[in-house]
């Protein structure tokens, strides 16, 4: 399986049903976008998991740096008033 080293890495997102968002399910190697979609179909939707597939080259994802964690996320810890827990949820609203 040495060829894997030459194929770029792709991140795979699957939408499991209509109305839900695409969710990251894993990654795989492929030569281009079209074959990444085919591989994703074969690797991640064999058991009827999805209705839509997105693939993104792993190198194209811009991610936050672990070193910035404190500056980015810690300030939100103490601001419980930002949670919308004081509102009743109307009946019949799903996936909120």
């Amino acid at each position: 399986m040495t060829q894997n080293n030459e194929w770029p890495l792709w991140e795979i997102f699957i939408r499991s049903q209509h109305g839900l968002a695409h969710k990251h399910v894993g990654s795989l190697h492929a030569v281009d976008g079209a074959s990444a979609v085919q591989h994703a179909r074969d690797v991640y939707t064999r058991r009827n998991e999805g209705v839509s597939i997105w693939v993104v080259r792993a190198g194209d994802i811009v991610a936050s740096s672990p070193g910035d964690k404190e500056a980015l996320f810690d300030p939100a810890q103490t601001k419980t008033y930002r949670h919308p827990t004081f509102y009743p949820t109307p009946d019949g609203v799903k996936n909120l």
């Binding site: 399986m1 190697h29 085919q38 074969d42 690797v43």
Partner: protein, 252 residues
Amino acid sequence: MDSKLSKFQYLLRLSDNCLVLSQQLAAWCGHGPALEEDLALTNVALDLLGQARLWLTYAGEVEGLGRDEDALAYGRDGPDFRNLLLVEQPNGHYGNTVARQFLFDAWHQHLLAGLCQSSDPRIAEIAQKAVKEVRYHVERSAGLMIALGDGTELSHDRMQEAVNKLWPYTNEWFESDAVDVQCAAEGVAPAASSLSAPWRASVEAVLNRATLAMPAYTGHQRGGKQGMHSEHLGHLLTSLQFVQRTYPGAQW
């Protein structure tokens, strides 16, 4: 020819193509050139096995002698198999397997599209399920043909060699014998020769994109549909049927 007998024979041809090719592809499981390819090819093998089961079950019902899918898959000897010679050709290297798969898939999709219109509703139903799977198979194998044919000099030469080697096995499926004539006359199946032009067009389009040449016709092999096989089938059946031959009727 008796209409029941011809339908039974025709169903065996359909099932045995799928069964033998599935067994061949299964040998790649765990040995594919990349994890993603390995899984994809095994998926194709499983699709074909599923189709073989549907055809075999119906063949047993048409025959009416109480043979089920297992009896037909594990209890027949080589000369009773009705698969095309193409599908029993050895796996070889991955390029040989890809070329064999593409040449078969391209034919299989046109055949199944024709069988969707069968006068036998059961055959039409099975074909409608199978044709969706096979449309994906041909998309995949055509993509690999193009990637490898139009790849490096080495991969191009290997693919051309693979196609040339298999070419003599791509004619018998267009020839009609008494079984084909009877099934076509009753509207059970499309005429064997009617698939020739669409198949050539599909193959030519992909070979062109793959920068591969259509091999020239230099004679061809026939006999698979009538049970005259190459030596390869015997070896394949030995491993396919080993358990049931050793422990007849074993279940788990």
